[in-house]
């Protein structure tokens, strides 16, 4: 079978010295426990596919797709080996060879058909004229109330959000291996979003607009950090860093600063900031291996409970959804927007 996408990663695969330092925080390995579940294991498999020493198989595809793209491995790797990029290339070759998951194909067809990953024609961006361009993203489109809340927050804090008709940022095409479709989709996306500067609500969209298109992107928490009112909500919370926000976009302090300003005492989990523990919702495993996702999320919930905090707060809709499910009601999981809104209301009441 012809290798198309892994070819360009041979040098990077030789750069990896197979030291195993990537074992340290890999959420998939922590749950499953075999070396095939680690970044080293998956890059070795990619190497085997590239050199022809391994025949592609359903099992290899399963292992290559069992990655949340959380980049903990990259954070631990002193050679900064581009593990997610290698795995994305391996997935692209595997998809070409017929090993893509049906659920992933379905997701891609949904985007082609409706513009969003859910295939929901009703999930449309709440268009409005304004001054600062906000990209909503599929996950928030499916949560219209939360989207509206963010837009109201922006307005209350003196900004005029501009929202356009939108389509998926394209990350699923890249991450799940649909490269040919990705090129077409990117052209379509750029026609809709030729602007250079964009604010995003979703950390994953932010990372992909930055890495996939080279846009100057700001996350909503960066925009809000100097604008949220200083109030005292009197809450103790722990903050979950979404992987794309902390490890890809290096945004760890702004959300914490927001929480501090609105009177939320943050108690840190064992793994935080750049070494945050993945929620288990990324990389496509949510649609192919929900049990694995649940087990990863359960580990994170255990860390959150150990802090003794009342709440677990995150700005990522996927993390919120996955962690909420895993929490089984033992700790409340909230989007940071809820607390910001609460703070705005409190500041209005007090004035």
């Amino acid at each position: 079978m012809k290798v198309n996408y892994l070819k360009e990663w041979l040098n990077e695969l030789n750069i990896c010295i197979r030291c195993a330092y990537c074992f340290e925080g890999c959420p998939v390995y922590k749950v499953l426990g075999w070396e095939a579940d680690t970044a080293r294991g998956k890059t070795v498999l990619s190497y085997g596919l590239l050199t022809g020493e391994l025949e592609p198989s359903k099992y290899i595809a399963e292992k290559i797709y069992q990655c949340t793209f959380c980049r903990d491995c990259v954070e631990r790797c002193s050679a900064n080996v581009s593990v997610p990029e290698i795995l994305a290339a391996a997935r692209a070759d595997l998809a070409d060879w017929g090993f893509a998951y049906d659920s992933h194909k379905h997701m891609i067809e949904n985007v082609k058909k409706s513009g969003n990953i859910f295939g929901d024609p009703e999930a449309r961006a709440p268009k409005r004229e304004g001054e600062v361009l906000v990209f909503i993203g599929c996950q928030f489109l499916a949560r219209p109330n939360q989207t509206k809340l963010y837009l109201r927050i922006l307005e209350k804090l003196g900004l005029k959000p501009k929202v356009k008709e939108e389509i998926c940022c394209g990350f699923p095409f890249y991450a799940l291996g649909f490269r040919k479709d990705l090129e077409v989709h990117k052209e379509r996306f750029l026609k809709l979003f030729p602007e250079e500067e964009i604010i995003t609500l979703c950390p994953t969209c932010m990372a992909y607009l930055h890495e996939g298109y080279g846009k100057k992107v700001k996350h909503i928490t960066q925009v809000l950090v100097d604008r949220v009112p200083e109030v005292d909500l009197g809450i103790t919370a722990t903050y979950h860093d979404p992987c794309d926000l902390s490890r890809v976009m290096h945004i760890t302090e702004e959300p914490r600063e927001i929480l501090k300003r609105i009177g939320v005492e943050v108690v840190e989990m064992e793994n935080n900031r750049k070494t945050s523990h993945c929620c288990g919702g990324g990389g496509g495993i949510l649609s192919t291996d929900e049990k694995l996702s649940d087990r990863i999320a359960a580990r994170r919930i255990e860390q959150a409970k150990a802090t003794g905090a009342d709440l677990l707060v995150t700005p990522c809709p996927t993390c919120e959804q996955v962690l909420k499910k895993a929490s089984k009601g033992e700790i409340q999981v909230r989007n940071i927007s809820d607390l910001i809104w609460k703070a705005i209301k409190k500041s209005q009441t007090s004035t």
Partner: protein, 477 residues
């Protein structure tokens, strides 16, 4: 050789066995240049399972290769004859911590850093601290007699092992050593097992000496414009009677690689010496730091900075610990290979060794680096080369031989802390020629059927390049 999977399933359960091509491919390599293919991978959870696996393997003459994280650099866990990979990582319980007896007891698969995290609330630590401590298992560290940045003060793994439980090749479980800090007489078999690289027995449990955490730690860096002067400074610090808790050398290649990969901002000089002192009394730590500083200055060390700040110490410490992989980023197109990676030389020859490494590199068209825990006599290098080119392997072959010829010439040893296994065996065998037959006799006595990690150490092939397949696509495989 056909493996009786049903028998293995009866022992560990179906979920704890892997024998498909993908898993075998992964478990056939480690951090060395070698690869080979095992027949099956098994993850035992209990000592009795390890015993049953070995009974089966011994009956059927199947090689058994115990494996921790598989981070060895010389091919320790590469199954040169195939066989069963015994992945010990599920045996990862910390069984007891006894501060009063200053010891702890752990299963072989416990990760070094996890142990240290557990010891911290008790005010203790486990000191060998290899750079791989974040993933290295205690069993692997013992099998390899690992040491690290703090060995200059606290010794290597062998100095920290009080006792252990091992499973012999015939499946017998044997208790070795004691819970005491002193043990005088008889053959101290537990000390023999340390560094035996999985060839004599499978370590399943260890009793380890622990050390109270010092109240103060101060870390310093000194810059040098000449590599030899840095080496001389290190030798003098040790012979002066100073007691550093870390005394590391990094040459310009290592500095460049770490700065490039980790953006550490280390000084752009020919060499740096990183030093640390620790203790319970600040004045004593200050005294040590000042002594080291004075000696560095005497050897033209400059820009000397030191700090008690935990964050600053952690930054430098991380740079040193991550150096091995970072070397792969030194120059586009070159990879870091674990060749001639480790040696020990007499204290007075540290500077000569560092200089020699660069001479050998130049002569053989490769890049090499001189760094290591030089305070404890350990010098590391790596060969940075294009591993896809056949001629580079010939260059490497010559360079490795020249390095170890020189090590022997100056009274050093091939084995400092990264083990021998396959890559270094040809040179180690020359060095230890007088004792090879004794070692073979011991191996024969403990493992008569030669099932435990066969063809390593004294029984490894004489040419490391052709001993196994190489992990790189040499000549465009």
């Amino acid at each position: 050789m056909k493996i009786d999977l049903d028998r293995l399933k009866d022992i560990v359960g179906e979920d704890n066995i892997r024998n498909n091509a993908a898993d075998l491919y992964i478990y056939g390599s480690d951090a060395s240049v070698h690869v080979a293919t095992p027949w099956v991978v098994v993850q035992p959870k209990k000592i009795s399972e390890v015993q049953d696996i070995l009974r089966y393997a011994n009956e059927e003459l199947i090689p058994v290769i115990p494996r921790g994280a598989g981070s060895g650099m010389s091919g320790h866990t590469v199954p040169i004859d195939g066989g069963i990979i015994l992945d010990m990582k599920r045996m990862n319980r910390i069984l007891e911590i006894r501060p009063q007896d200053i010891l702890c007891r752990v299963e072989a698969g416990v990760v070094d850093d996890d142990l240290n995290r557990a010891l911290k609330p008790f005010g203790f630590f486990y000191p060998p601290a290899p750079a791989s401590s974040r993933i290295a298992t205690i069993g692997g560290e013992i099998a390899n007699n690992a040491s690290g940045i703090r060995s200059v003060k606290y010794g290597a793994t062998r100095d920290s092992v009080l006792g252990m439980k091992v499973v012999m090749a015939n499946g017998d479980l044997v208790n070795l050593g004691s819970n005491t800090r002193v043990e005088a007489s008889g053959y101290q078999i537990e000390r023999l097992i340390v560094g035996s690289e999985g060839t004599l027995a499978v370590i399943v449990e260890a009793t380890l000496k622990i050390v109270p955490l010092p109240k103060y730690r101060c870390l310093g860096i000194a810059s040098f414009n000449k590599l030899e002067e840095a080496g001389e400074a290190i030798s003098d610090v040790i012979s002066s009677g100073a007691s550093p808790s870390m005394l590391e050398l990094m040459d310009d290649v290592a500095i460049t690689a770490v700065n490039k990969a980790l953006n550490l901002g280390l000084p752009d000089v020919e060499a740096i010496v990183i030093f640390e002192a620790d203790g319970m009394v600040k004045e004593a730590v200050d005294y040590e730091i000042n002594r080291i500083k004075e000696i560095c200055e005497r050897h033209n060390g400059f820009g000397i900075k030191y700090s008690y700040d935990a964050k600053e110490r952690a930054r430098i410490y991380a740079g040193r610990k991550k150096l091995f992989a970072a070397l792969s980023r030194y120059k586009e197109g070159l990879s870091c290979t674990s060749l001639a990676d480790d040696m020990a030389v007499p204290n007075s020859r540290m500077a000569d060794m560092a200089k020699k490494i660069h001479e050998v590199a130049k002569r053989n068209n490769v890049i090499m680096t001189a760094y290591g825990h030089c305070g404890s006599g350990v010098m590391h290098t790596k060969i940075l080369m294009d591993p896809t080119k056949k001629e580079q392997w010939e260059d490497a072959r010559r360079a490795v031989a020249e390095i170890y010829d020189y090590v022997r010439e100056i009274g050093g040893t091939t084995s400092a802390e990264h083990g021998i296994a396959i890559s270094k065996a040809p040179f180690w065998k020359k060095e230890r020629k007088d004792s090879l037959e004794i070692m073979r006799a011991i191996k024969k006595a403990l493992d008569p059927n030669n099932i435990l990690n066969p063809h390593k150490l004294m029984d490894a092939p004489d040419d490391w390049v052709t001993a196994t397949r190489l992990r790189y696509p040499v000549g465009g495989r």
